[in-house]
Symmetry: C2
Subunit: 192 residues, 2 copies
């Protein structure tokens, strides 16, 4: 039975984006964000939506830069931690034993232990209400050689990313198995 329900921001799955920025004093910070996604192919852009209450919001405005780091599933505790506490109260890199490395392309830190990161330059800031959407042009990508496929692109089966179950299931999940090839399995229906 179909039920009509109140509006909820439940997208399944939601990504787990670890946003890297520098604080005004130059120390590195990371936070966990689930509101975001790829925004454009050319130029390559990604969006992340943040509340003004976060330190990261102000850092991005200050530096016009951020990284989007994709954690592998084994870092689910560290990932959750950097979404619970504020960089105003603690050093999240220190507390999680994660290592910041400066991006060579933008003024933002990369998480060394995570399999790959997108290096972004802020190009737009759109105030939508409680959240402001930051659109970053992706200038480059830093990845562990071990997670790349032969075309030097991050392979989901090697990255082993996690995802967020959103409000209906407040938990992190890993990926399961391959259902079928994209731009391929649907062709069966085309032949009808």
């Amino acid at each position: 039975m179909k039920l009509e329900l109140p509006a909820k921001t439940i997208l399944l799955p939601s990504p787990v984006l670890i946003i890297g920025t520098y604080n005004i004093d130059g120390t590195p910070n990371i936070m966990n964000a689930a509101w975001g996604g790829i925004a454009c192919s050319k130029p390559p852009c990604i969006s992340v939506s943040l509340r003004e209450a976060t330190l990261t919001y102000h850092n991005i405005i200050q530096t016009e830069a951020f990284t989007v780091n994709i954690p592998s599933e084994k870092y689910f505790k560290e990932t959750d931690y950097v979404g619970i506490v504020s960089g105003r109260d603690c050093d999240k890199f220190k507390d999680t034993n994660l290592t910041p490395e400066k991006s060579k392309l933008v003024n933002a830190p990369i998480v060394k232990e995570f399999p790959y990161a997108l290096e972004c330059h802020l190009i737009k800031k759109i105030n939508l209400g409680l959240h402001t959407m930051f659109i970053g042009e992706i200038l480059g990508m830093v990845a562990d050689s071990e997670v790349l496929n032969p075309d030097k692109l991050p392979d989901i089966e090697k990255v082993r990313p996690m995802m967020f179950g959103s409000f209906g299931s407040m938990a992190y999940y890993n990926i399961g198995f391959k259902l079928g090839e994209a731009f391929s399995v649907g062709k069966e229906l085309q032949k009808k």
Copy 2:
């Protein structure tokens, strides 16, 4: 070893968004989009980025409405099909045996067989380059009672959504197992 690589729009995982719209003649259409995500909590908003070449792009401008339907994993072939063909050349609902149902809140169709859908009213259109980002305010949600948790929210373990492995692994994947509770498992690190 960390490698510096060219910019790529690889977000892992990327969602599988089936965008429902009405064509100018009133017939329903659906397409598969991976570029999008939640944009704001209050008002509840979701973004989806589309190329001007798509029929859906023009439909959304015309109707100022769209639905975001989340397919369950068993529909991976239908999902792929509606991303391969254009609604200009065929009736995607007919070809996939999926059923359109008119949303009661917005002028856009819902896919009856999919576990839930977000009903969106267009509030912003942002041209970024090859893609234009459409931001929709989520006015309501339609869901199968069977996929809801006791709070009447879609439960990821019942929805069984799929995800897209992006360019590094051009395939659809399902979800695996729960790694840990959000806003909870990270507290272990807080006690240090």
